[in-house]
Subunit: 370 residues, 2 copies
């Protein structure tokens, strides 16, 4: 197969004309550029959202942690999440993929299988791309478009003192899943020269870590939750948790010039994460606060609408957790710990109050409270 | 510098608020996604053009062939050219860059210097990006947007028998420039362990290859020519020469279901290319037909408008060459060679006519007539 035949093998006939038309696609893959108009279902004046996100072999995935299909799914899902984090509807994707000779067309085909599965799930039209060779490692850069009503994009900068802080799912699961995958791959070993294969999901099921592994491999961005929340008009800031809950909270705090005070007892905890952390002697809170790639939404909402928003999402089968409040003050993120959660990190100075506030580190994955 | 400080170092304050506003940018770099509306200067109903193009270290450039600034310029220019090739106006760019530790922030800064210089030249607003680490090689994927009046995008598929075939500049120069750069780098040698530096332009000037080297390093897409041509409404197909003149002609021929007959004597030839080819014993026609990355436009135009279009472009200081005609027949590209150009490849069978038609290979860089 030459390059053009390969691209057809990977992309031809993957999406129906009706899906493409519903996203306003005038001309898809195959010319110098794709052509799109306003999607027919969009009403009123639109603005366009654009974002790009990249996955690099050895940095974001390797043969043991993810199958090709997972890489394709996640490369698109991470971008879809960025559109959700602006309160928008994802529309189109363009895929740049650089592959080494050793991968061969069938591995690339499987990567596209996962990418198109994600596109089908979120109704995204894949309208263009570029395929190049790469000396050694796979690099996938996906660009997405989305739309919002003009002026309705939800930024990081709008949080006000008094707003409630929410998340749309449990954080830390993807980081815990990655921890398990790396440990399982190291323990499993591979015969020299043999092709490393992804740690099987069956092994993760036996180990009680399947939900964590799937959180790492197949993130499910909160697109429906974003649409419902954006329509309420009371969400004042919004981020997706790609770099960790603390890091994303800091971005909102700094952009909005407020303090975000998070209650430890309100942070949603996955049972698998708690059990797995206990088994490895890790602090689950470290993953929850500093683990990345969860792609749940973190935001602030007018306090008086928080309960109604939560009720609406839950009626639609979507979780929403109120985890704290925005407060006046110089930009900061603080964790309100319950006395029961005190793990002796205050070096015996004691704590008279029933709660203790601790500043959270600005960013980066590291162990909490250390 | 942490990652966020680096991104600010590379991108902060690079473009004026007025440039961003003129391209409809509501929100640029710094949130989950960029937000854009219709550019204020655009009139009537718009369609959006989207394209992505990738440059990979060792595949598209290396330390000897291009400086960091050249890589940045070319990564954006290749994309701007795709928008021109649809008859559109380039608007926005998003930059995905994966860099190995060894590059360091200053080399990346220089890459951005070149990219922003290209953006300034073409009025493109850089609105987003993603920076990741890379194990060994630099990969730059740039996505661009552009606009056209609704329905006005010029595809590959519209050429009709009788149309004139044109190009907006000489092809083959970038391939000849790369040939010189690789030869000069091989001849120059580098002390073991020393940093390889780009072959200096001064050396190319001395060798009479500066124009070829600049064609490879700093391609200048035909954006103004595209705008003037598109406005005439008589251009029936359009491609940019990224993969070689013959390859691009084949794309038009196949998409339109016609024969493109190109006259050898009409193909524009750069004097530097002819002289350099002569010096190395290479066939200049091979570079002209099969060399890539020239980013001139190749298209077809209603025959009756060809002279007027050429006159309009030339009055604006832009070259346009009528190099052949579209003919009825099964998709093919043929070169009409003049008897004088016969290099004896007919194995002594002779040629009674004053012209001879030869089919051109469908794609790929290889030696012509061999």
């Amino acid at each position: 197969m030459d390059e053009f035949a390969r691209i057809r093998h990977w992309t031809d006939g993957r999406q129906s004309p009706s899906l493409l038309a519903s996203q306003g696609v005038v001309l898809g893959i195959g010319d110098d550029a794709a052509v799109v108009g306003a999607p027919p279902s969009a009403r009123g004046e639109l603005e366009w959202l654009l974002a790009v996100d990249t996955m690099v072999e050895t940095v974001h995935f390797n043969d043991a942690t993810m199958a090709e299909e997972d890489v394709g799914w996640k490369a698109l899902a991470a971008n879809v999440s960025d559109i959700a984090a602006m309160g928008g509807t994802p529309r189109h994707a363009l895929v740049s993929i650089s592959v080494p000779q050793a991968w061969g067309p069938e591995r690339v085909r499987r990567l596209y299988d996962g990418l198109y599965a994600c596109a089908a799930h979120y109704g995204v039209a894949v309208i263009g791309g570029d395929t190049t060779s790469s000396p050694l490692h796979v690099v996938v850069a996906v660009t997405v478009t989305g739309t919002v009503a003009a002026g309705a994009a939800i930024r990081r900068a709008g949080a006000r003192p008094g707003d409630a802080v929410f998340v749309t799912g449990a954080a830390g699961m993807a980081a815990a899943g990655l921890h398990y995958l790396l440990a399982a791959a190291a323990a499993g070993g591979t015969a020299p020269g043999a092709q490393v294969r992804p740690v099987p999901l069956a092994a993760a099921e036996a180990a009680g870590t399947a939900a964590l592994v799937q959180a790492h491999r197949r993130p499910a961005p909160s697109v429906r939750a974003a649409a419902l929340l954006a329509a309420r008009g009371t969400v004042t800031s919004l981020n997706d948790v790609s770099d960790g809950l603390a890091s994303e909270a800091w971005e909102i705090a700094e952009a909005s010039g407020i303090v975000l005070a998070l209650r430890e007892s309100r942070l949603p905890r996955s049972g698998s994460l708690t059990a797995y952390a206990h088994r490895c002697g890790e602090d689950p809170l470290s993953w929850i606060l500093y683990g990345g790639e969860d792609y749940v939404l973190l935001g602030t909402i007018a306090a008086e609408d928080a309960d109604a928003a939560k009720a609406e999402l839950e009626a639609a089968g979507l979780p929403m957790y109120i985890i704290g409040a925005a407060e006046e003050g110089a930009a900061a993120v603080e964790l309100i710990r319950d006395r029961g959660a005190d793990r002796g990190t205050d070096n015996g100075r004691g704590s008279a109050s029933s709660h203790r506030r601790e500043p959270l580190a600005k960013r980066g994955y590291n162990h909490f409270g250390g």
